[in-house]
């Protein structure tokens, strides 16, 4: 139960707030003789006790996870007690919130990467931007959080075959997507939080939001060794735990970032190609992926990271207002509309995934073979008869691959 509770979506800032602002070790001052609250108090005292000092109750709680009825009851109690509403927005509510002025936080409860990337694009495209230019601070900042099932995501201007070991990804059940913004290639799993900060073009600067994230992380725990590098990546102990991509369009900009919290990093090996593979030469203007050593940031849960940032955002962007910046929830079943579905279809189409991106020429030195390709179609090749064929199908032809261009590392 301990684990379930702490990472449960039903715990939200409503009852985390005292902890931040009163800064006391026991956020609740509840009569311990009252059985109803006993679990909470035990849980909280454990949250703020180093692991080695914990009592065995933690294990007891963990062993309860399989029996969901108790935790369901508890969650329901919690929901009633703190009136937490995680009901996802309907399609029309989503549209209404997105197109109206005002700041908000929005969390996707779906793990479908196609939905989440399409949602991000929808939020970005439809955030209001004033026609006249003013000196005022952009009033419609948005902060989106989502977590994707395992997938590989390449940048808009990259070559999919240069970046990814596609057969291996397929074998392991990874989805493969080309995002709508720039940047390099990353692997996502359920331990990785994606955040997206939408602002105006004028206010946009690539360091801006991650500086805030670092600030919020340090105010949560000032012993965390988090820093930022020149690429505005966030480093934990000098290893990258967060990468960023940016997009500017229609007078607006978004900063998309990832934060590795509980990712199974060991499973990421062998999915991304190294910059150089012996015998293979790529000639193109594509955008480089910067290879980095990576690390999780040791927070208790992905939810904890989201809460830290939501709290920070609500505090720092309130602008002197007494009422709180709202947090909305959405999911794939309820919070959809035609625009989102269209983008999901685009993202999931071969045309976008494989046949977009820069033109390129790839050479297989050992076999003295070269293939040039534009929008997925072979435009020139040292092998007769390839011109006009599509590159993807050609590569997937096992006979062709093993007889002609065989390179075990390709």
């Amino acid at each position: 139960m301990f684990k379930l509770c702490r990472s449960s979506k039903y715990i939200n800032k409503t009852w985390r707030s005292p902890l931040r602002y009163v800064s006391t070790k026991t956020p609740f001052d509840i009569d311990e003789s009252d059985d109803k609250y006993k679990d909470f108090n035990t849980m909280y005292s454990e949250m703020f006790t180093p692991p080695d000092e914990r009592t065995t109750t933690r294990k007891d709680h963990l062993s309860d996870v399989s029996g969901t009825s108790e935790s369901d009851d508890l969650n329901k109690d919690l929901q009633d007690l703190f009136q937490v509403d995680h009901t996802p927005l309907s399609g029309s509510e989503l549209q209404d919130r997105v197109k109206s002025t005002g700041r908000f936080v929005i969390r996707s409860l779906s793990h479908n990467p196609y939905y989440n990337l399409a949602l991000e694009d929808y939020l970005f495209r439809n955030a209001p931007v004033s026609k006249e230019v003013t000196n005022k601070i952009y009033p419609n900042h948005r902060l989106l959080f989502y977590i994707n099932n395992k997938c590989a995501v390449i940048g808009k201007n990259q070559i999919i075959w240069q970046e990814l070991y596609l057969p291996e990804l397929k074998r392991q059940g990874y989805e493969v997507l080309r995002r709508l913004s720039g940047g390099g290639t990353v692997i996502h799993d359920l331990g990785n939080v994606n955040y997206s900060f939408i602002t105006s073009r004028n206010e946009f600067h690539s360091n801006f939001f991650n500086e805030l994230v670092v600030k919020w992380l340090l105010s949560y725990d000032n012993t965390l060794p988090v820093t930022m590098n020149k690429r505005s990546d966030i480093l934990y102990d000098d290893k990258k735990c967060s990468g960023s991509a940016f997009k500017i369009a229609q007078g607006k900009a978004y900063h998309h970032g990832t934060m590795l919290v509980k990712s199974q990093l060991s499973k990421f090996h062998g999915l991304l190609k190294p910059k150089d593979i012996p015998g293979i030469h790529w000639d193109s203007a594509s955008v480089d992926s910067v290879r980095s050593n990576i690390s999780n940031i040791p927070l208790p849960s992905t939810d904890e990271f989201i809460n830290i940032c939501s709290d920070g955002f609500q505090n720092d962007f309130r602008g002197g207002n007494t009422s709180e910046i709202p947090i909305y929830y959405c999911d794939e079943t309820n919070s959809v509309n035609d625009e989102i579905v269209t983008t999901m279809n685009t993202l999931n189409s071969d045309k976008w995934r494989y046949f977009s991106g820069p033109k390129f020429k790839v050479e297989f030195k050992e076999k003295n073979i070269s293939i040039s390709c534009e929008k997925g179609v072979i435009t020139d090749s040292s092998i007769a008869g390839l011109i006009g064929k599509d590159f993807k199908t050609t590569l997937e032809d096992k006979d062709f691959f093993s007889n002609k261009i065989y390179n075990k590392q390709f």
């Binding site: 009033p139 946009f204 801006f208 997009k247 007078g251 720092d316 309130r318 002197g320 207002n321 009422s323």
Partner: protein, 182 residues
């Protein structure tokens, strides 16, 4: 209830300057490697296409420039200001030749160190040519954004685009727009 909350948030937020504002404005200036003006380069094709130079040079609030010649041939690119603000360009996404674009439609994008920035057609017309030299020379966007760094060549009908052209900034208006933005 919710709506009212939001509205109030906006009202306060826009009338109370928070501490965040000066920070990013400073940043925007700090990363700029601007040439200092947004004049079309008279030594390059967008200007020299016709012997008399372009009939009209205009600017959009999205920081595109256009140079229209007498026959309707129109060059489009991003301004010096925009190029400097984006930083080193790494990849230029170009439009497809022989396609029709509507004003406001994306005709490509400039990916810089890590951002992808859309480029919009300020007018409607047919794409005659994409500047494919940028495929191997993305750096022209920074070294000469208003000359060698042109992105697309369109054929436009001036009369049909009158409203769009009227709405675009002159150089003077654009510079003023930039100042008001600081």
């Amino acid at each position: 209830m919710l709506n009212r909350t939001i509205t109030r948030t906006v009202y306060r937020a826009t009338t109370t300057r928070s501490a965040i504002a000066p920070t990013y404005r400073l940043f925007l200036r700090a990363q700029s490697t601007s040439h200092g003006n947004n004049h079309l380069n008279k030594d390059e094709l967008p200007f020299k296409f016709s012997s008399t130079g372009p009939k009209l040079v205009k600017y959009s609030k999205d920081h595109e420039w256009l140079a229209m010649h007498n026959d309707g041939t129109t060059f489009i690119g991003i301004t010096d200001y925009a190029a400097a603000a984006l930083g080193d360009a790494t990849y230029i996404e170009l439009p497809e030749p022989n396609t029709v674009v509507e004003a406001g439609e994306s005709i490509g994008s400039v990916e810089s160190v890590k951002s992808a920035s859309e480029v919009y057609a300020p007018v409607s017309g047919a794409v005659l040519e994409a500047h494919t030299e940028l495929e191997s020379h993305a750096d022209y966007i920074n070294s000469d954004p208003m000359g060698k760094g042109w992105i697309a060549k369109l054929m436009i009908n001036e009369a049909a685009n009158k409203d769009y052209l009227d709405e675009l900034f002159t150089l003077e208006q654009y510079e003023k727009f930039l100042k008001s933005d600081e």
